[in-house]
Structures are given as structure tokens and as C-alpha cells.
Amino acid sequence: MALETTELRPLGKSIKRKEDARLVRGQGRFLDDIKLPRMLYLALVRSPYAHARIVGIDTARARALPGVHLVLTGEDLAKLNLAWMPTLAGDKQMVLATDKVLFQYQEVAAVIADTRALAEDGAALVEVTYDPLPVVVDPRRALEPDAPVLRDDREQRDNHIFHWEVGERAATDEALRASAVVVKESIRMPRVHPAPVEPCGCIADYDGAMGKLTWYVTSQAPHAHRTVLAMVAGLPEHKIHVISPDVGGGFGNKVPVFPGYVAAIVGSISLGRPVKWVETRTENLTSTNFARDYFMDVELGADDKGRVTALKVTTVADHGAFDAAADPTKYPAGLFSIVTGSYDFPTAFAEVDAAYTNKAPGGIAYRCSFRVTEASFLIERAMNSLALKLGVDPADLRFQNFIGSDRFPYDSPLGWTYDSGNYAATLNRALDMIDYRALRQEQAERRARGEFMGIGISTFTEIVGAGPSQSFDILGIKMFDSCEIRVHPTGKVIARLGTRHQGQGHETTFAQIIAEELGLSTEDVLVEEGDTDTAPYGLGTYASRSTPTAGGAAALAARRVRDKGRKIAAHLLEVSDDEVEWDGQRFYAAGAPEHAVSMAEVSLAAYTNLPAGMEPGLEATFYYDPPNLTFPNGAYVAVVDIDKGTGEAKVRRFVAVDDCGTVINPMVVEGQIHGGLTEGFAIAFMQEIAFDEDGNCLAPNFTEYLVPTAVEAPKWETDRTVTPSPHHPIGAKGVGESPNVGSPAAFANAVMDALSPLGVTNLDIPLFPWKIWEVLRQHGVTE
């Protein structure tokens, strides 16, 4: 049977995703598809209270239930020194609560039984007596001097976690004082949740005879998880085998270690049997990591001609009960300092104070690179307010203040060196696609008729690809990534990487990079990820880092293979090494293109016909430490019509022009953008993990936390500009998160633009119809 082949030189082509052949047939192997012999199931007992003292835990009835094998409490774990675990942010988090609970749905006990139903039944029989305590759900209240202190375990007797600042405070204040115009807004980015289709879970399978733990887990970062587990549980790292099978979406939710993981591992070691824990949708939304939850006050100054002069941002961040944010060590507020965005600010200052509250811990980067969405939303909303205050067109204001394409590499006032960009070209393309000037004319006509039509622009700059080892680490581990390539005698390749895709298409796109470098087709390259016993060490897939880091590693590992191949080719061609040329598909003798050998021929020779003294085989590994981050950017334009009867903002059109540098696979990029825009649409209009004053989570399921389907999602119109990253091996920047980062502001700006005749400059997202309708009602313009 002939092997299926794709065309050579695959980089930049819309090759169908290799992984889809199994995924669309329902033949993926996700965590809950795995059933091991003698496997038991774990269910967690969770607190109904957001803040309460635990008076007692009675497990007798649960233990007596036939089929229940083990009931674990915090006291049991304390004997193993596992009642608490470290978080990625350097804080610690209760695994199972002992003295008190700090958020609703906190893990209190674990029940392990023959079936999942029995485990749930057993959990219902655990009787916990609570003594409720005062609840704090607002981080601004948490930082007041008389607020109840939530964390008894800390010596510090308040709820303050950290203060972080960047930039020139005094110079910024002075520049603002001297500015002709200053706009001030309080911008809220509410708590949201990534809500991947597949929730989190694991199977812990401890082999007592071998002393080895095999841990199947829904992980975006298998190696990091293995290291954390070795540190938490004291198990030898080489005897922990982490397998991350097919993962049904992550978006940051599957980066941290959760209490259910630790409980399952303790259960498996205790019982000598595999233990599976898979959370429910409610458990996922209420207890595993949230995103955002920033309260931001901004002051943006400009001169009388509209040139921006200064930016000052003061932020209170809600981190929940434990600081479990997944940020690099050096950046407790992530990369929020990208907040000056695409604009040439002479000076700027930003500060963040983080607080504990009685809410679930987290602060992960939901499809954004470490607080970049918050920053992007803030600056794009503030620029909109400045345009309104100046009475100028928001597109013109942006053109006026963009960092010029001739300014790159550009040093921002908050410390970043942007690699490349052409913001004016990107915005021009978006405006052309949507016929912006005609829309403004139409808007004027509709306004004259009393209609509310809005046009919103967002011209964001992202910062991704963490990261350079001099400044980026997680728990001290530098944020490089890796690729190992093995070329077999027939010219077929297995490539293993330290990343772990969850739908991004790595099996195709990384194959395209390697095939491009080696003159092969993507069908010749099998990409494997997610197995720590086989893949080289890497920090995983999140924060749009895979292509900037592992993608670079793949290209450079392939070039190492090619370098050895060149020597073998010289041997086969009977010329010296420096007389061998590479045309992208073949090695040939300089000046004699017809005298050539393919990579397949070279591969066979690597095992059968080597130059004298050469080590056999054709393999290479590269650990890529990027010299800088990458800075994808884009220009988005949304058009909305507001229904005066219901308050609904109907998205009529949405144009997204992205610049992610070199494009590996346009179809995959397109898919990434469609998904991210749909998430951004949801964040802008329908999603919030809200709480009542008692700390009850009001969005614990998909009837309250809404996820748009194709029915609700607007039609996306997309295009690209290409400004390669000058320092990345193939010029790629990463794109997965740009649409989520850039689009919420475009939607919100469109609604504010529509409501601007009423004097409205800011409404908190999500922009529920009732919220807009209330504004219309207050101004007497409802129908």
C-alpha cells in the first residue's frame, strides 16, 4: 500500500490537521476514556460555605458504605505532610481543609470507592459541621484595615498578597498634570473561567513493586507537573511517569495542580490500586482556576492635538483564597506591563495590589499570556474614552499614536522591547475590509433616526512566547522548550516536544516546520507530546508559547539533523562538505544540481553507509531559549446595533486582521482566531463568575455561565498582515490567544460608541442586555 504523502515545502500551506482523522471519528483517547484494571473512583466533599470554621468531620457513615475503600480528610493528609501544597505563585494551598474553609466548593474530604456513583454516595454521607465566618468577596473590601483576616496560616495579619509596580510614578504624575486632556475610567475585567469542554481529571496508578507512579492527567504542562509532584509528594522524579492523553481544551485551566490530583495519588499509593478523579462541570467552574478579576483605574493624558502623553494604571487584583496564579516568578502581575499597547507613550506607570478573598483560587491566563487581556482591554477602552473626550475618530486617534513601523525594535516605557510590527498597515486593512468610512456615514444617518449603532476598534499588541531564561521561570525552572527529532532509516521522522497541545494542531504544524527544514512532507513526520518518559523536558503549552518556544526548538533541531545530513550527503556525492548545497528538498553538489540526494537517501546512509568515523544514526535535540518574547498584534473592528426594546447589542459584523508573523498553516490560524473571537464575544456579552455577598458562586453550571454556540456567535471576517519576528528561527510569533486578548475591547467599544450620544463612556462587561436596557431606560429611549 502506498503511503499517503503531502506536498513538499509545506510551511505556510493549509494542510488538513493530522490529528483530526482520529478526533472527528471519536477515536481520540481522552482521560475519561482510560479504564485500568481494578480502578477505583474518587469523589470530593466540598464546602457549601465560603468562609467557615470546621467544627468536626464525621466520616463513619461514609466508611461504612459497602464499596467505599478509603475516606481521606485533611487530618489524614497532615500526617503525610500533604495537607497543604505549594502553588505556582509561591503561596501554599490547602489540599483538604483542616481548620477552616476559605471558599465555597473548597475540598474538605475525599471518598474512594468501587464506582463513581458509590464514591459520590459516600461523599454525601460525610458529615461536616461548620461554624460560618464573615465573608469577603470584594478585593477592595479585603484590603480595608478592618476587613476580616482570611488566612490564619500567615504571619501577615491582613489580606494583602503583593504590591508590584513598574514605570516612573513621579514622571507620569507630572506628565498627567501637564496634559491638556486627561481621561479617567474605572475599568473592571470580571472573573471568568476558561470552561474547557473536557474538565480536569487524573488517574493515579502506583506500582508498589516498582515504586513507580504512572499518572494520567489532563495537563498542559506534563513535565512541570511531574516536577511539582516530585516536590509535593516527595516521590523520585524519575519514578513519576506523567501521561497527558488527548486533552479537550485547556486555555490555562489545566496548568495548575489541583487538590483532587493529590488526593487521587495518595489514594492510589494507600490502596495499591489505580484511582480516577474527574471533576464535574460545576466543580470545574467553581474550584479550578479562574481568570481575570482585575479592578483597574486608569488615567490617560494627551496634548491638545491628541498625542498621548502619559498612562497611569492602579489595579486591585482578586486572587481568591490562595495565590495560585500561574505567572512567571519575576512577574506576580504577569505581563500586565504591556498595558501601553500599540501606542507611543513617552512615560507610563502601572501598579497592582493583590488581595485574598473568599473565592476560588487561581488567576490563570485564560487564553492570554499572563494578564495581557486585562492590559489590552484597559488601554483599548481608555483610548476609546480619549477619542470620545477629544471628539475625534477613534481610528484617526490610533493612527496618530501608533508606534511607527520604523521604530522597531521598540523599547516601551514599561520595559519591553517589541520585536516588530506595522500597526498602521494592519488597521488600514481592517478598515478597508469593513468599509469604515461608509459605516460612519451610515451611523450618522441612523443616529439622526434615533437608532443606536456602534463601531468599536481594538488595535492591540500581545506579548507571548515566555520566555527568555534570564527573566522567565516557573518555580525556578527556566521557560525554554525543546524538541527531539529521530530520523529513521527510511526517512521517516518521530519528533517529540516538551509542549502539550489541547486542540492547537501541533501534530500538524510542528510536522510542517520539521518537514520544511528537512525537505520532507508532513506525512513523513509523526509528532508526539505529553509523555514525560519519552519527550524532552519542556514547560508546556499555554500563553501562546508553543510556537515561539517549541516551534523554534523544532526548527533548530531539524537544522542540526540537516547539518549532519549535509556531511552524509557529501560522502554520498563524493564531494567535500562545503561543496554541498541545499535547495529545500535535496542536497546537491555545488554547480551540479542534477547530482543530488534526498533526505530519505541520506537517512538510509546514516544507518548503512556512513563516512569513516561518523557516529551512526540521524537524531538531534534542541532546547530553545528564546532571546526575546514575540509581540503579535491585530486590528479588530466590531459593528453593533442595539435593540431599544431588549437592550441586546447585536453584532452585525466583526473584522479581525491579525499579524502573528510567519504563518505555518493558515487554516489552523484561522481556526484559532475563530475560537478566540468566540470566547472574546462571550466574555464581552455573557460570561462572569459572579458571587453573592455570602460567597455563593452564582455561575456554577452552563445554565448560568453561558458558552456561545455557532448560533449565537457572529460571523467572523478575518485576514492577516505578516511582519515576521526578527529573532524567531522561522519568524513566527504565536496566535492562539490574540483574538481572546483583542476582541473584548472591540465589542465593548462598539457598545460605548453606540451609547455615546447619551453621554455613556463606560459600562462594565459582561454587557448583558438588561444592563444596556437600563441605560436606555434611564435616558427615556427604550421602545
Binding site: 466540598r46 455563593n696 458562586c697
Partner: protein
Amino acid sequence: MHTYTGTLALEAPLERVYRFITAAADVGPCMPDVASVDVKDDTHFQARVRVGVGPVRGSFDLSAAIVPDGEGKSAALEVRGGGMGSGVDIASELQLAEVAPGSTELRWEARVTISGPLAALGARLIDGQAKRITAQLFDNIEARIRQLSEGGPREVEG
């Protein structure tokens, strides 16, 4: 937290009403949708009640404590418990006043806190349901006192 208030006009002497609302054996059976009552002592009882809010159906195990003021004019009723992974706390104040010989006014205020999935699942229903259940407790107390005054049967509405 939800706060509910109400006033009952009872055709019974203040002393009798006071004795009733401070006796666990009398108040316990007045719990709405009660399945069982276990009177622990004069002022403490435990009850299992059926609960249904929206799609959530199940039972709550409640512990109740009555705190008389000792002066025959007021009492506190504190109820705490839960079930189905949810919790409920009810802190009630009951104030009595004689409006005429043999007639007593009972003013009540209940602060109800519901925690857990029940609070969220029934977020749009919980206020009405909590108000109904709380009011039912006092309606049952009123009915029971009226029955006793009339020498009627001991049962009250569930």
C-alpha cells in the same frame, strides 16, 4: 442573606404564645415540609425537612435552638443545617405584644442564609422559595396556636 418579616395576630394570651414559641416540642413540628422531628430538650430539636428548589430535590437535616428572653416577651430561634452539599442558617427574632386581653401580636424577622449549590442552582428562585418556607413556619405556628386555643387536633400543615 435574605431578610423576611411578618406579623401574626393570634387569638391567644401572650403567656400561652410565649410558652409555645419557647418549647421545642411545640415549634419543632411546625417546621415546613417536616419529615421527622427529634426533640432533644426543652429548647433544642433536630428536624429533617424536605426541600425543593427548581430542579433540586432532597432533604435537609436541621438543628434548632430556641433562646427565650426569660421575660416572656421575645425569643430567638436559630436553625442551622444542610444537605445535598448545601447549607442553611436561619436567625429569627420573635417579638410578642399584647394588643388586647387574650390577643397577641407576634412580629417576626428571619435572616436566612443559604450556601452551596442550592443557592446558585435556584438563584432566580431562591428568594421566593426561602420567603415561602420561612413564612410557612410562622403560618404553622399561628395555625397550631389557633388549634390549641380551639382545643383542636395537634397536626399542623406540612
